[in-house]
Structures are given as structure tokens and as C-alpha cells.
Amino acid sequence: MSLIAVEGLTVSFGGRAVVQDVAFTLARGETLAIVGESGSGKSTVALALLRLLSPDATLTAKRIEIDGEDVMSMRDAELRRVRGGKAGMIFQEPMTSLNPLHRIGRQVAEAVRLHTKAGMSREALRGRAVALLEQAGFPDAQHRLDAFPHQLSGGQRQRVMIAMALANDPPLLIADEPTTALDVTIEAQILALLDAQKTARGLGLLLITHDLGVVRQHADRVAVMKAGRIVETGAAEDIFARPAHPYTRMLLASEPKGGPAPVRAGAGPVIAADNLSVRFAIRRGVMRRAVGHVAAVDGVSVTVREGETVGLVGESGSGKTSMGFAMLGLEHATGEIRFQGQDIARMTERRLRALRAGMQIVFQDPYGSLSPRMTVEEIIAEGLRVHFRHLSRGDRLARVVAALDEVGLARNALERYPHEFSGGQRQRVAIARAMVLEPRFVVLDEPTSALDRSVQTQIVDLLRRLQADHGLAYLFISHDLRIVRALAHRIVVLRRGRVVEQGPAEQIFAAPQQDYTRALIAAAFEGRALTTAFDEPEAPELVD
């Protein structure tokens, strides 16, 4: 008998169907991955299984059975017994899934207590919580029971979530994008933990993800979702070897391929940062006196030549974004930055402003980097108004249209507002905003990590084309080595604000010298966790 049996599952919000006629089964000891891009309805399916949808959703199904019990006909009390008792659930964002005001020991114990009829003593509960946390690979669980969620790293928080989900030995575990918010090395560890628990307990694991790399490594069977429907389902090997549906083929083909065009021989440096440090003061007391400093970037030197992409790689907290901001003079830094022969690190803001047209930035989150109150035309023209004051209205419009054209957007985008566009289109607008100023140097701060995989590839292609056309120098900041390989000529690996390793991209990928680099590469390309533990808060060290 299968653990989950779903037939004819349809969910609609206000008459609009987001999930249509979905059917699948899951057996014990099996991992089923539901794969799809954002908006495909895959998370809605997970919530519908336990009838956790918001009240304005309409749920109909021929059959939803969990472990032989009919979920559709259950009353609230029975549902509560199934939730957590029969099926544990892990969500994407472990910070918001944990109560920030309660200690983790109490939260794990509560998960146990809710489903235990006979009362347990305090000691027994505590012992059970420690055992669960240890099974979830939580380091030093005995002494960390009194920690609050904000004191833990993302990976540790997700381990707490897993401990809570497994608290009552449920036969089913539903993991909704369990690693999307985590760094690649930690992602690999968490997935390895889920695999181990599945084997040890004979769990049925329903894995909801957008990441085909994760699916390839961890799933037995795959269901591909598109626009609310399952378009293809089958064994993982079959799907990867012989994808039948065009959408699946498109997803598989959307891994970024190839590498960047070679740098022209004799290309001169556009920007050179020498021994750059960014420090944040730690302030305490009534008068907010600085009692110490955190070095987010600690003595890093990077040179980017014309037409060259330097990949700045590291996990979150490694200082890569601070480094990018500092090179643009957006963050106060010590050291020397030579941009086109001038030292901009010591320049006043006013003089620096005149140089800003030559160095631009594209941000990670295309939803946050465009002002919601301005039209696309106003957004792109803003820099022109500052740096090309003499332009007539017509000339300015012509340049804006040319920039839109260059990033592959139609002219009718001009009068629209950012919320009318998809994530990929918004990122194109952000790129157009930078390109219209004809910069020499562009900082790309994880420009693809908020996008779907197929869109990522398009953006990578666009960035490559722009570089080839204009001889741009890129500083490409990313934690995703798959994208970095497609774009970067040289790679600088950062950890805790310091350079761990640097060199030509091929050399770094072929023969990484440092454990940290090896872990990053293994996690990115093989979805494999190395034994070296990096699962600790990546806080930079304190310096005086």
C-alpha cells in the first residue's frame, strides 16, 4: 500500500486554478521529487496534502490518502493528528518557521508533547529533544537546547526543523524547498541528512524543489510540474536520460553551458583594488561608542581587465557583497582602488559622482532594486539625467529605447511599472539601467540567484553578449559555481573576508588547492557534502 495516494487534486484561488488534476503516489522508503519553476503550483500541492491551504482556496480531489487514511473527509481533530503525527513538514525559510521567542529545546519538546497522549516528565521530554537533535546532526545538542533561533546558523535552524518534523516518527516527510535559503555546502549536508533519515527510518520523502541538481542526486522518482499540471512523471534516471515532455527537456537544457569568450590579449586593467578592507564598528552603550570592529573584507586585492569577468565566490557572510560595494565606493573602505587611473577610495563623494557612469551595479533581487513608483522609462533614464544633462528629450528617449532593445525588451515596456514584469524581465530592466550609461565596469551582485534556472541561462547569455559587444569588465559575485563557470575568466574565493584561493577559472575548477574551494565545487556540481564541516555561523572574525 502506498504512503500517499493522490488523484484528481485541483486547487483554485478565486476561480483561477493553480493546481489542476494532479495525481501521484509515494511508497515507503521512496523519494518523490516534484519539480517545477516558481508559480508552477508545486508548493500548493504540498500544502493541499495536509489541507493547510489558506481559507480562500478551493480544494477538490477524488482521493487524498495518507497512510491509508482519507484526508478529505477528516475533521479538524483528526487532521491535527495526521499533521506532525503521520506527516512531518519542513519549509523553505527556517528562520520564519521557528518561533523566534522560544528556545529550540522547548520547540522540539512541544512537537513531541503535542502527539503524545500519556504525559511525559520534563526530563524525559528533554532527553527526547536531545536525541532528536542529535539524530538531525545538530552539534552539541545537549548544551544548545537553550539557544534561540537567531543564535543559530541557517543550516542549524533547518536541522532543528528536521528534528521537529521527525519528532513523532512519522512515516512521511514533506520537504518544501528545504535548502533554497541555504549556502551550497550546507545544502549538500542537509540533503545528505534527509537521505540518511529516509534510509534509517524507511520514510517516504516528498521533496518539492526547483533545483534539478538536487533531484538528480536525491530522488528516486520525479514529477515535473508546469502551470499547475504534472506534465511528466517517472523514475529519476529515465527522466534525466530520456525526457519525454518538451518542458522537461527545456528544464534539463537550461543548465548554463560553455564559458566566456577569451579576453583580448593585452587588455589593460579597468579597475584595480589593492589591499582593500571594509570594517564595521561594533557599538555598545548609551553613547554608542565603537568597542571593536568586524572586518567584512580584510585586505583583498582584485584587478579586473577590459572584457574580463572576475568571479568573486564564497558563502553568505564571506564579504563578497561588501567587496563589490567597496569597489564602487558605495561602502567606506580602506586601501586603494584605481579606476581608470584615479584612486577612488580617497575621493570625495562629489567627485566620485562624476565617475559613476563608468561603474555600475546589478543587484541580486530584481524585485527590490527597481523603484515600484517609477515607470521603466523613468528608471532607465534616471542615470542619463545625471550624467548626460545636455541630452534633449528625444535623444534621451532614443537612448532608453536602445538600451531596452539591447537587453531584449520591447519598446512598449517604457510606460509600464516594474510589478507588471516577471523576475527575468525585471532583471533585464536593471541591466538596461546600468548599460544605458555605457559603463566600463559592472558589479554583478548575484544577478541570477533569485531567478528560475531557465531564466538564469538567458541572463547569463545576455551578460556574455553585452561583454563581447562592449568589452565590459565584470565583477561577478555569486555562490553558485555553476553560473560562475559559465561566465568567469578568473576566480577569487573569499572566506570570512579573506582570499582563500584565486586563479584562472579552469585551474580552480580542475585543481582546487583548498578544502573550502573543494567543498564549494563538490556541493555545486555533485550535490555532495564533504566531510569538512563548514556548518557554523559564517560570522567574520573580530579584530581590534
Binding site: L328, I361, V386
Partner: protein, 352 residues
């Protein structure tokens, strides 16, 4: 999707259109706004509605407009003195009627007109002549209410808008630059807001006679603080937004970044505060007038009416009128404020 089919953008952005719809959907606030606008509109024309001079006089084939011009009394007959005409004087009225006609306003009294020929000592109860009775100085209460409403609302509007402008500027500078600027400014505000403004006002009024503008200036000194906190918080949050950083990277100047990118966010918080600040200002003026430290004696003011009601409990129409007018005005402002707050609530109108 051809290049020619660019839809013309209307002057009102989609976000504001949605806010307008949300405001309309708030029926109570929407009607309160209309009632308020009608009442305020009437009070703006107080000089036409309630005046002790005729609106138009037809005299010897000439049109005269006493509410616009002063006419000498001897114009209406050789027997009169060359002083300003007193149109309430029966002999003047008779002289005008003999040579033409005149049209009186609906309420033939101004706020400072002493009503003649009362059959009993002032305050006199409501009658066909004085719809809301007279106060203890023998002045028509309705006329004073109309003028008092106008001065209260105008005072409130002026104080609120000036205080908002200063408060937004101060909050913006603090939040945007942060650091030491913020630190010093915050300590200054803490000390400044510790000053007892009511006592300072009482002391001031014993030194110089308070007029509309002196009072406004003095209240302004303390009222701008209310908004700075909210605006500062918005700017502190706003300066780390990606699109603000992007604008900085484009080389946009600080002032332009503040105005174009962060201020609209701060305006949401400000707009939701505004109606409540307005009703607060109305209350402050009324309470100062009540205590006798407000507008100069004789000015039409709602606060003064309240104090008359207290002094003349045997004439309940004074207290009741004061209560209904002041309470009604504040309730209208609060209802409007609630509707504005809902209209600007990002959870009800999608995004900010």
C-alpha cells in the same frame, strides 16, 4: 505589441488610483469628507453667510456692495454723519428702502455684532432671529460658530502643513545621514520635547499679546517633533533598499535620492498621520482659547464658546452648541483619517 501602441499613462499612477478606490470604499470616511468639505466651504464664505452688512444695496440707481467696500453713512441721506454706515440702524435702513432696496445675508450678524433689542438679558435662548441664541456678550452664536469653525480649521491646516514640512525635513536628514547627525539630533529632540509647552505658552501670552500668527509660530516650535520619528524610521529603512543603493550607484545626488526614492515611502506614514495631527491642532487651539491664552479677546473661537458654556450653565444652548460643533468637527476629521489610513495601508492596496 508594435512600437506605436504605447498606452498613454494617465496623470494618476495605478497605485494612487487603487488608493483612491480604497478610500471611496471606506463609506464612512468618504461621506465624512464630503460633509466636512461642504461645512468648510460654507465657513470659507462666512462673510457672505453671516454678516452685519447687506450683501447688495440698490441706492439711487447705483449698486453698492457693503461687504466689499466701506460706505460713509452720509451717502444715504443728508441727515447722517460722515461716519461708517451702521446698517443695523433702523433710520439708515429706512433711508435705503426709500431710494431702492437691499439684500441681507442669511444671518444678519457678524461674529462681533452685538445684537440690539434683545427682549431679555444676554445670553438669550434660540429664537427665530438668533437661531442658536446669543452668548453672554449678546452676540449671535451661529455667526460665531461659522467664523470659529473657519478659524479652527484654517489654523489646524496651517499648523499641520508647516509642522509636517519641518518634521519631514528633520526626520529625513536624521534618517538618511544617520550616525553622528542622527545621534545629536535625537538628543536635541529628547530635550526639546521635554519642555512643557503649555506653561511656556502661558508665560509667552503674559509677555506679548498672542495673535493668530504668534500662536501658530509658537505651537509650531513644539509640534514639528511629532512626525520626525516616523519619517526618520522610514529613511533609516529606505536608505538600505536596493533601489536606493542603485540610485546612489547611478550618481544621483543625495537630495534627489531622498526626494524621489525615499520620500514617497515616508509620505505613506506621514499621510496616515496627517488627519490626526490636524484634529490635534484643532484641539490645541480650542483648549488654549478655553483657558484664555489663545486668540485675542473677541475672536470667534470654539474654545471660547466652550468656556462661555461653562460660565453660563443656565444657558445650555451655549454648551450644547459648543459640544456638538467641536465634537462633530473632530469626529469628521477622525473618520476621514481612518479612511486615509486604510487607503494607504499596503496590506489593503497590494504593494507600497
Amino acid at each position: 505589441m508594435s512600437a506605436d501602441t504605447i498606452p498613454r499613462r494617465s496623470w494618476i499612477s495605478p497605485l494612487n488610483r487603487r488608493r483612491l478606490a480604497a478610500f471611496r470604499a471606506h463609506r464612512r470616511g468618504f461621506y465624512a469628507l464630503w460633509v466636512f468639505l461642504v461645512l468648510f466651504g460654507i465657513s470659507l464664505f462666512a462673510g457672505v453667510v453671516a454678516n452685519d452688512r447687506p450683501l447688495v444695496i440698490r441706492f439711487d440707481g447705483h449698486f453698492l456692495f457693503p461687504i466689499l467696500h466701506d460706505y460713509s453713512e452720509d451717502r444715504f441721506g443728508p441727515d447722517f454723519m460722515p461716519t461708517e454706515a451702521d446698517y443695523a440702524d433702523p433710520s439708515v435702513q429706512a433711508a435705503i428702502r426709500a431710494h431702492g432696496w437691499m439684500i441681507w445675508p442669511l444671518i444678519p450678524f457678524s461674529y462681533d455684532t452685538t445684537v440690539e433689542n434683545l427682549n431679555r438679558p444676554a445670553p438669550s435662548p434660540p429664537s427665530w432671529r438668533n437661531w442658536l441664541g446669543t452668548d453672554d456678550q449678546g452676540r449671535d452664536v451661529l455667526a460665531r460658530v461659522i467664523y470659529g469653525f473657519r478659524i479652527s480649521v484654517l489654523f489646524g491646516f496651517t499648523l499641520t502643513s508647516l509642522a509636517s514640512v519641518i518634521g519631514i525635513l528633520a526626520g529625513a536628514v536624521q534618517g538618511y545621514y544617520g550616525g553622528l547627525t542622527d545621534l545629536l539630533f535625537q538628543r536635541f529632540i529628547e530635550i526639546w520635547s521635554g519642555l512643557p509647552d503649555l506653561f511656556m505658552l502661558i508665560i509667552l501670552s503674559s509677555i506679548i499679546a498672542p495673535s493668530f500668527w504668534v500662536l501658530l509660530l509658537f505651537l509650531l516650535l513644539f509640534n514639528w517633533i511629532n512626525l520626525t520619528g516616523v519619517v526618520r524610521a522610514e529613511f533609516l529603512r529606505g536608505r538600505t533598499l536596493d533601489y536606493v543603493r542603485a540610485a546612489k550607484a547611478l550618481g544621483v545626488s543625495d537630495v534627489a535620492v531622498m526626494r524621489r526614492h525615499i520620500l514617497p515611502n515616508a509620505m505613506v506614514a506621514t499621510m496616515t498621520f496627517l488627519p490626526f495631527t490636524l484634529s490635534g491642532s484643532v484641539t490645541i487651539l480650542a483648549s488654549l482659547d478655553f483657558l484664555g491664552f489663545g486668540l485675542p479677546p473677541g475672536s470667534p473661537s470654539l474654545g471660547e464658546l466652550v468656556s462661555q458654556g461653562r460660565d453660563n450653565l443656565q444657558a445650555p444652548w451655549l454648551a450644547i452648541t459648543a459640544f456638538v460643533v467641536l465634537g462633530g468637527l473632530l469626529i469628521l476629521l477622525i473618520f476621514i483619517g481612518e479612511a486615509v489610513r486604510d487607503a494607504f495601508n499596503p496590506r489593503k492596496t497590494g504593494f507600497r
